[in-house]
C-alpha cells in the first residue's frame, strides 16, 4: 500500500502537508477545519510576548502567482493564548505546532517557556518575518550568529519540546544560518518564510500595503524555496519543512526531491481552496503510483543523486 506518512520530530504525520504559520491558524476551530481538509499537522499563527493588532489594511492581497501580506504579526499575546494552545493540543487529531516570535532574546525565552508548557508537539521559532522591521529591526534569520543565539536561548527553556527554526531566503547566508541553528540545538528547519517586496498602485500613487513593503508568498517564491531546501539539505542533518509556493502535488514533490522531510502549505489555501491539502495528497499519490514508488523515503533528496 502506498504510504504518505512521515515521521517528524518524534510524531507520525499521516501525510507530509503541514499548515504554515499565519494561515487560518488563529483558533482551535479554524485548525480543526483545516485538519478536516487533510492537513497532516498544523502550525498556529505566530504568537509574541504581547497583544498586537497588526498593521492596518490593506494587509493582504493577491496578484498573478502570489500573495503579498504585511499582517504585522497580529496576535493576542502569549498569555492570552496558552489556554487555546492547550485546548488545541488536547482536542485536535494531528500534531499541533506552536509558532512564536519576539523582539529580543529575553522575550524569546519568556514566550518559548510558556508555550512549551502547553504541550505543543514543537515550537517553530519565527526568525524571518519581513513585515515588522519598523517595530523590531532587521530579521534575526539574516545572520548565522544571531540565529544561533536565539535558538540556544529558546532551547534552554523549553525542556524536551522540539524547536524548529524558521528561516528566510532573504539571507544570502541561509545555509550558514541553518547550520548555526542546528549547532545551537534546533531540531528542524522551516524554509522559507515570505520574501519582501513592494507593489505600487499607479493610480493611487502609493504602495498597496499600508506597511508599504510586504512578504510575498505563493508560486512566485517556490524556486527560491526549493533552492534553499536543496542547499540546506546538503549542509544539515536535521529535517527540513519545505515551505513556499506549494499549491500542487508537483510542487510538494519538488521540495521532497530537494530533501524536504515535510511540506508547509500556506497560500495554497487561497489558490486552491481549503481542501488544498487533500488535493495535494491525491496528486502525490497519483505520481507515486505512476512511477511505482511506495513511500516518500524513496524519493526524498533524490535530486542530489542525479
Amino acid at each position: 500500500m502506498l504510504d504518505l506518512s512521515v515521521n517528524l520530530l518524534g510524531k507520525k504525520l499521516q501525510n507530509p502537508l503541514i499548515l504554515a504559520s499565519g494561515i487560518m491558524g488563529v483558533s482551535v476551530s479554524s485548525l480543526k477545519y483545516v485538519i478536516q481538509n487533510g492537513a497532516g499537522a498544523v502550525i498556529f499563527k505566530s504568537i509574541g510576548p504581547d497583544e498586537r493588532t497588526g498593521h492596518k489594511n490593506p494587509t493582504v492581497f493577491s496578484f498573478e502567482g502570489g500573495i503579498q501580506n504585511a499582517v504585522g504579526l497580529s496576535n493576542p499575546g502569549i498569555d492570552n493564548s496558552t489556554e487555546k494552545l492547550k485546548e488545541a493540543v488536547s482536542t485536535l487529531s494531528v500534531p499541533v505546532i506552536g509558532s512564536m516570535f519576539a523582539e529580543n532574546v529575553n522575550n524569546f525565552k519568556i514566550v518559548a517557556e510558556k508555550m512549551a508548557k502547553t504541550g505543543v508537539a514543537a515550537i517553530e521559532v519565527n526568525l524571518s518575518c519581513p513585515n515588522t522591521e519598523d517595530d523590531f529591526g532587521r530579521m534575526f534569520a539574516l545572520e548565522p550568529k544571531v540565529t544561533g543565539e536565539v535558538i540556544r536561548a529558546v532551547k534552554s527553556v523549553v525542556g524536551k519540546t522540539p524547536i524548529i527554526a524558521k528561516l528566510s531566503a532573504e539571507s544570502p547566508d541561509i545555509v550558514e544560518v541553518a547550520k548555526s541553528a542546528e549547532e545551537a540545538g534546533a531540531d528542524a528547519i522551516t524554509a522559507i518564510n515570505t520574501i519582501s517586496g513592494m507593489f505600487i498602485d499607479i493610480k493611487h500613487k502609493r504602495p498597496i500595503l499600508t506597511n508599504k513593503y510586504g512578504g510575498i508568498s505563493g508560486p512566485v517564491i517556490k524556486p527560491m524555496g526549493v533552492k534553499a531546501v536543496y542547499n540546506i539539505y546538503k549542509a544539515v542533518k536535521i529535517p527540513i519543512i519545505g515551505t513556499g509556493g506549494v499549491n500542487t502535488g508537483e510542487d510538494a514533490l519538488e521540495y521532497i526531491m530537494a530533501g524536504a522531510a515535510a511540506i508547509g502549505v500556506g497560500s495554497g489555501v487561497y489558490f486552491r481552496g481549503i481542501d488544498v491539502f487533500k488535493k495535494i495528497s491525491d496528486e502525490i499519490i497519483v505520481f507515486m503510483e505512476n512511477e511505482g514508488y511506495k513511500s516518500l523515503n524513496e524519493i526524498r533528496g533524490v535530486v542530489h543523486k542525479n
Binding site: 488563529v26 476551530s29 485548525l31 480543526k32 483545516v34 493576542p76
Partner: protein, 266 residues
C-alpha cells in the same frame, strides 16, 4: 464570476446622502457580485474595510456606508472623482426561492445588501415584505427605492417617529403569526439577527443571515473571520449562512474574535 484580488482603483462617480449617518458611493464600473457578497474597499491612507455590494439597476455598483469610525468617517469626507480601491466580490450570497413571499429583516446598514436582494427578488416577482428598524425616521434607508420596486415596507423606529414603535423583530413577530413567508433574510446588528433567527427557528421558517466578522484578507487566508465551532471563514463560507449552518456556529450571538485574535463578548 471573476474575482478582483488586487485593489482596483475606481473614482467615485456620485455620492448620495441617505441619512445622517449613511452615504451611498456610486461607481461607474460593472463590479461583479451577488446580493450578500461584499467588497473590500481601500480608503487610501486609512484602512481597507468590508462593505456589502449593491448593484442597483442602471448603475455600475455602489456601497452604502455608515460613518462609525476613522475609516468610514474619512470615506464620508471624500468627493466625487476621488479614488477608492476595490477587491472582491467575496463571500457567500443569498439564495432566493423561486416563488412565494419572502421577508427581509434589516437593521442599520443591513439595508444595503438587502436592498439589492429586494431588487433581485422583485425582478422574479416574489412578494417582498421588508421589516426595517432604525433609531429614528431619519435613519431609514432607501425607502423610496423600495416602494418604487413594489416592496411592502414595514418600519420600526426606536423612538416611534415612523411606523411601529420598538424593534423591527417585534414587528416581524406580529406579522409572522398571520402570514406565511417562504424564506427570511436577516441582516443587522448581531443582537437583532439573533432575535430574528430565534423567531424563525420557533416558527420553523427557513432563513439566511449575514454574519459579520472582522475581516483582513477577505479571501480565506488569514483566518481572522473564522467562527466557532466549525472554523468556517465568514469571508468564504459566510457571511451568508442558512438556518442549518447557523446552528453549528456556536459563537453566534455570544462573541467574536478581535483583530489581534482575542475573544470579545457581544
Amino acid at each position: 464570476m471573476k474575482k478582483i484580488d488586487k485593489p482596483l482603483a475606481l473614482p467615485i462617480k456620485k455620492i448620495v446622502r441617505e441619512s445622517e449617518r449613511v452615504k451611498t458611493f456610486i461607481f461607474d464600473y460593472d463590479f461583479p457580485g451577488k446580493p450578500g457578497q461584499f467588497v473590500m474597499c481601500w480608503v487610501p491612507g486609512f484602512d481597507e474595510k468590508p462593505f456589502g455590494i449593491i448593484k442597483k439597476e442602471g448603475e455600475g455598483f455602489s456601497i452604502s456606508v455608515a460613518a462609525v469610525g476613522n475609516t468610514t468617517k474619512a470615506l464620508h469626507m471624500m468627493d466625487v472623482g476621488d479614488l477608492l480601491g476595490f477587491r472582491g466580490p467575496y463571500g457567500s450570497h443569498f439564495k432566493l426561492p423561486e416563488k412565494g413571499s419572502i421577508a427581509l429583516i434589516a437593521g442599520g446598514y443591513g439595508m444595503a445588501p438587502l436592498s439589492y436582494l429586494a431588487q433581485e427578488a422583485r425582478k422574479i416577482n416574489l412578494e417582498v415584505y421588508l421589516f426595517v428598524g432604525a433609531n429614528k425616521k431619519e435613519e431609514l434607508l432607501y425607502m423610496d427605492w423600495m416602494k418604487e420596486i413594489g416592496v411592502k415596507v414595514h418600519t420600526a423606529t426606536d423612538d416611534g417617529s415612523y411606523g411601529y414603535s420598538g424593534f423591527n423583530t417585534e414587528l416581524f413577530k406580529i406579522y409572522v403569526e398571520k402570514m406565511i413567508f417562504g424564506k427570511v433574510f436577516i441582516v443587522g446588528p448581531e443582537i437583532m439577527e439573533f432575535n430574528a433567527t430565534q423567531i424563525c427557528y420557533e416558527k420553523n421558517i427557513p432563513f439566511e443571515v449575514s454574519l459579520e466578522r472582522y475581516m483582513k484578507c477577505g479571501f480565506g487566508l488569514c483566518g481572522q473571520c473564522c467562527v466557532d465551532s466549525t472554523g468556517w471563514r465568514m469571508c468564504v463560507e459566510g457571511p451568508v449562512l442558512n438556518q442549518d449552518e447557523l446552528k453549528k456556529v456556536t459563537e453566534f450571538g455570544k462573541y467574536h474574535i478581535t483583530s489581534s485574535g482575542k475573544i470579545k463578548k457581544l
